[in-house]
């Protein structure tokens, strides 16, 4: 078999293959990678004539076996993963039958599908660049196969030129084409959900504070909410087993209902602001909420004022939330009150004694709680992300011996005391603060902003108390970094994080710039949804009032298709039909009705000769028709007046010949 690829082509194909593999390596089983490399090596050896390409039956055998093995290996990871692996397997197996241009086409097209899949896993702008590179590589493969022997610079020029030429069209399509909802449901990844978890015990949030990963971003329509008010509520915990705070049964029920889209009706009034959230994927349902957020499209409210998305947030998702000033509350029911006061029977005797003595002294409940908070700020309590380990009696150990910890420790102890005193209270976890980027008017909230605070029921409403504020007020005012300014606990593990080195000015500027670009990318590309599209296009079209939005989209699409049509068929290139040809065609039609069809190779002379046998007109008339036709069509340098004269004559003869 003649080799249709040259060395350059094959090298390019394999390079593309390896890049594709490495781009998706996190998602792909290493065995498959190994197998794919084997396939490509086989093809290289084949190229040098040492090995044959496999026959059809061998190929079938290998394909079926490897598919089955792949399915068996990947099965536990779910349907989506199986699909991905099978496509990748096909991509790899193509090497074994790469024997014509057509096979290269299949290879490249499969590559495009894989690039599309790549976008399911990665959203950032850097990854988009990687994907663009992959696409460029695939196109280069196509070009190298078809382009023959183009010199290097020529090749590159042609490639880039054709890509650049198609770029405006791609942008236009991106802006104009309606977003379809995904046709299939993305199965929830087997990935650990990131961010806050379903329960909290002292120690957990400290782990989050080691991560500078972005949790979500927010921008406000009105003025930004002040720093001290930025308590982004995520979870509420009302059940305590002595070690861990978690949600009670009734709360869990509510969470389940929220997944099905059932919202708790909140009586909100006085709209004050609205916030745009872009939430990073965390493979969970929560949506951060400021007090008090209204439910809306794609999200529901819980009775604790938190928000839940109706689908897991598996990609960057955009929420527009209206904020309200006031909320109408109902008194607690007996069950609720019971739940909010429940404590484990055993343990923490010292704390219980301390509370009991205070109560005996006749001090008011609220005053006892205030005193506790005062103790936090005046006594020897310390804010640290590396607290000493606590024993079984968490609260006792913390309050009376270690006295060192972070938000969860303080919140947990405060809660315990409040409940002992009979004040209904609950723990709230979420994020506090966020870094405000003044230039682009948005704030980024990172994982290390995770926080826990307390709400107590007072005067028939929930009152937010943040015990951490008393021990480390700068945590609330300035964020975690400030509160840890004297130690190296901040982002202890992330040596290379730009967050850590923000006191170096240049790096800090760079970091802010990157954050800005990434924000724009997220808000305008990743989350460019139907609503945004509608708004953008509408804002354009309001300037031209007679344009209706939908008809315009339709018009643009039509124009696009029309231009593509015209480009392909190029009707303007079609030759103008000459007048003499029209007459001749007329004559042909006339005689074809009478059973004389012109044969393909027949000249006008032959045709007229045959026609004269069918007609009563004199044969000289036919002869003069053919003569005049030929002279009109083929004579060079015919003057315009002469041509006109002859055309007239030809027309006359043509009429005569159609008479019988």
């Amino acid at each position: 078999m003649k080799e249709f690829l040259n060395r350059f082509n094959l090298l390019f194909i394999i390079l593309t293959y390896i890049s594709m593999m490495s781009a998706l390596y996190e998602q792909i089983n290493p065995f498959l990678v190994l197998f794919g490399l084997l396939c490509s090596v086989w093809r290289i050896v084949n190229f040098y004539g040492r090995l044959p390409l496999l026959g059809r039956s061998w190929l079938n055998f290998i394909t079926i076996t490897s598919s089955l093995v792949t399915i068996v290996i990947v099965y536990p990871l779910g349907l989506f993963s199986i699909m991905l692996h099978l496509i990748m397997l096909g991509f790899s197996l193509k090497f074994l039958e790469l024997k014509s241009i057509r096979d290269v086409h299949v290879f490249v097209n499969t590559g495009f599908v894989l690039v599309a899949l790549f976008f399911i896993f990665h959203y950032s702008i850097a990854m988009a660049l990687v994907a663009a590179l992959l696409i460029l590589l695939l196109l280069a493969v196509l070009l190298s196969v078809h382009g023959g022997r183009l010199a290097g610079t020529h090749f590159l020029k042609l490639l880039l030129k054709s890509c650049l030429l198609s770029l405006p069209l791609a942008v236009l399509l991106f802006i104009v084409i309606p977003r379809l909802p995904s046709l299939w449901k993305m199965p929830l990844q087997q990935q650990a959900s990131t961010g806050l978890s379903d329960s909290v015990s002292p120690g957990q949030i400290a782990e989050l504070s080691r991560s500078s990963a972005l949790a979500f971003r927010a921008s406000f329509v009105g003025d930004p909410v002040p720093q001290s008010e930025r308590y982004w509520r995520v979870m509420t915990f009302d059940d305590f087993d002595g070690q861990t705070w978690s949600a009670s049964q009734s709360k869990k029920m509510q969470e389940q209902q929220a997944k099905q889209g059932l919202s708790v009706n909140l009586q909100l009034s006085t709209r004050k602001n609205s916030v745009d959230l872009i939430v990073e994927p965390h493979y969970n349902y929560w949506v951060p909420a400021l007090d008090y957020s209204e439910p809306g499209f794609g999200r529901v409210s819980l009775s604790d004022y938190a928000l839940r998305s109706t689908t897991p947030v598996v990609r960057r998702e955009h929420f527009e939330v209206d904020l309200y000033q006031q909320i109408e509350t109902k008194p607690l029911t007996t069950e609720e009150r019971q739940q909010l006061l429940s404590l484990p029977a055993q343990g923490n005797l010292k704390t219980q004694d301390w509370v009991a003595t205070k109560v005996k002294q006749g001090i008011d409940k609220q005053d006892i709680l205030k005193q506790l908070l005062n103790d936090f700020s005046t006594k020897n309590f310390r804010y640290t992300l590396k607290p000493p380990a606590l024993g079984i009696d968490h609260v006792d150990d913390f309050l009376f011996s270690t006295q060192a910890g972070f938000c969860v420790h303080y919140a947990s102890s405060y809660l315990y005391v409040a409940r002992l005193l009979g004040v209904p209270a609950r723990m709230v976890t979420g994020y506090l603060g966020g870094e405000w980027q003044a230039e682009n008017k948005f704030m980024s909230i990172r994982q290390y902003d995770a926080h826990a605070w307390v709400e107590i029921w007072q005067e028939d409403r929930w009152l937010r108390i943040d015990p951490t504020a008393y021990v480390a007020p700068e945590r609330i005012e300035w964020g975690l970094e400030q509160s840890l300014s004297n130690s190296d606990e901040f982002l202890a593990d992330e040596y290379f994080s730009l967050q850590k080195w923000r006191n170096i000015k240049l790096l800090n500027q760079l970091r802010t710039k990157i954050a800005q670009i990434d924000y724009l990318w997220a808000s305008w590309v990743i989350n460019y949804d139907n609503q945004k599209q509608l708004r953008l296009l509408q804002s354009w079209f309001t300037k031209v009032p007679w344009l209706n939005f939908f008809s315009t989209v339709l018009m643009i699409m039509l124009l696009l298709f029309l231009s593509v049509f015209l480009l392909i068929f190029k009707p303007w290139i079609r030759q103008k039909i000459n007048a003499e040809d029209k007459l001749y065609a007329q004559l042909q039609r006339y005689y074809s009705k009478r059973g004389l069809r012109r044969q393909k190779g027949q000249t006008v002379t032959d045709f007229c000769q045959l026609a004269s046998a069918k007609s009563s007109q004199p044969s000289t008339l036919f002869k003069s028709f053919s003569f005049k036709y030929n002279s009109l069509k083929y004579e060079v340098n015919l003057s315009a007046s002469e041509r006109k004269k002859r055309l007239k004559q030809l027309g006359f003869i043509c009429k005569q010949l159609q008479k019988g």
Partner: protein, 305 residues
């Protein structure tokens, strides 16, 4: 000038009865400055046509009967030592004439054929490190027997290509043959055939042929025919660019014969079979009764497009 053409045709038609088409083609070939190959069975009048053509055009001609034991020197000439002058003298062979009648060319050995065909292309011969120019105009009118006859060496494709046209005479129709037998014209060879034009006239005619104009439309038709031969899957021997040049030349000569100063597709069709068939078919003569390659091409390309 057209008078003279009419006279030539009249005289030739008088000598060879009922072969107007072939006579026209033969004349076209010479007007287009090409060599002519006439193929048919013995006794069909090949030699008669060839010699009548040469004489009528007023060209000096020599006739060589090719045989299997012929050597190149028999055609080209030979150098002989002159004892008096103490040097070699070149004795010109029959090729040094304006028209060479190469009778039964395929009976000669390939070596001899090659010697002739070389001269046809270059219009000169090289012998013993000397180059001798042939007189101009120089035509070769060759006749050959069909391949299946005994004692023939088929001309290879590359050498067939040197002939502008190959024509077949075919049997005369009954009327013409009857006329011949009745002795309407005596086949007495002694009757002299008068020259109707001279070399000067011939040159003028040839330059007039070159001046015939071809419009883009007709050239387009010609090129479509050529293209079809290359990519239409009809033959294994596609037509070369040289062939398209030759075809245009011959068609122009045909237009000249029709007293027109521009080319039409009819002209191309008229010469197409004679010009291309021997190139398309190669050494395989078409089987009698089957559609020839060139006719298939003509039928598959539409002049009206």
């Amino acid at each position: 000038m057209h008078n003279k053409i009419a006279n030539i045709l009249k005289q030739l038609n008088h000598i060879l009865l009922g072969k107007e088409e072939q006579i026209k083609l033969a004349l076209v070939c010479l007007l287009a400055d090409g060599h002519l190959l006439i193929e048919d069975l013995p006794g069909m009048g090949k030699t008669t046509l060839a010699s009548a053509l040469a004489k009528t055009l007023g060209l000096d001609y020599k006739r060589v009967q090719f045989t299997s034991d012929m050597l190149p020197a028999d055609i080209l000439g030979v150098s002989i030592f002159d004892r008096n002058k103490q040097q070699f003298n070149f004795h010109k062979g029959p090729i040094f004439s304006q028209v060479l009648l190469a009778d039964e060319i395929n009976r000669a050995s390939p070596k001899t054929q090659s010697a002739l065909l070389e001269a046809m292309e270059e219009k000169q011969i090289s012998l013993d490190s000397e180059t001798y120019l042939l007189p101009l105009p120089f035509f070769v009118i060759a006749t050959q027997n069909p391949m299946d006859q005994a004692g023939t060496f088929p001309l290879p494709e590359s050498q067939l290509d040197r002939f502008m046209m190959r024509i077949e005479l075919g049997f005369p129709n009954i009327d013409a043959e009857l006329k011949m037998l009745k002795g309407h014209i005596s086949s007495n060879k002694k009757l002299p055939i008068p020259a109707i034009i001279n070399i000067e006239d011939l040159r003028m005619m040839q330059s007039a042929v070159r001046k015939i104009q071809a419009s883009d439309a007709v050239l387009n038709y010609l090129l479509r025919l050529i293209h079809e031969s290359r990519y239409g899957g009809i033959t294994a021997h596609p037509l070369s660019p040289r062939c398209s040049k030759i075809l245009l030349q011959a068609a122009k000569a045909m237009a000249f014969l029709q007293q027109r100063d521009y080319l039409i597709p009819e002209d191309i069709q008229a010469v197409f079979v004679a010009v291309t068939e021997h190139r398309l078919a190669g050494i395989n003569s078409a089987k009698p009764g089957s559609k020839t390659f060139s006719q298939t091409l003509l039928d598959s390309v539409d002049p009206f497009a």
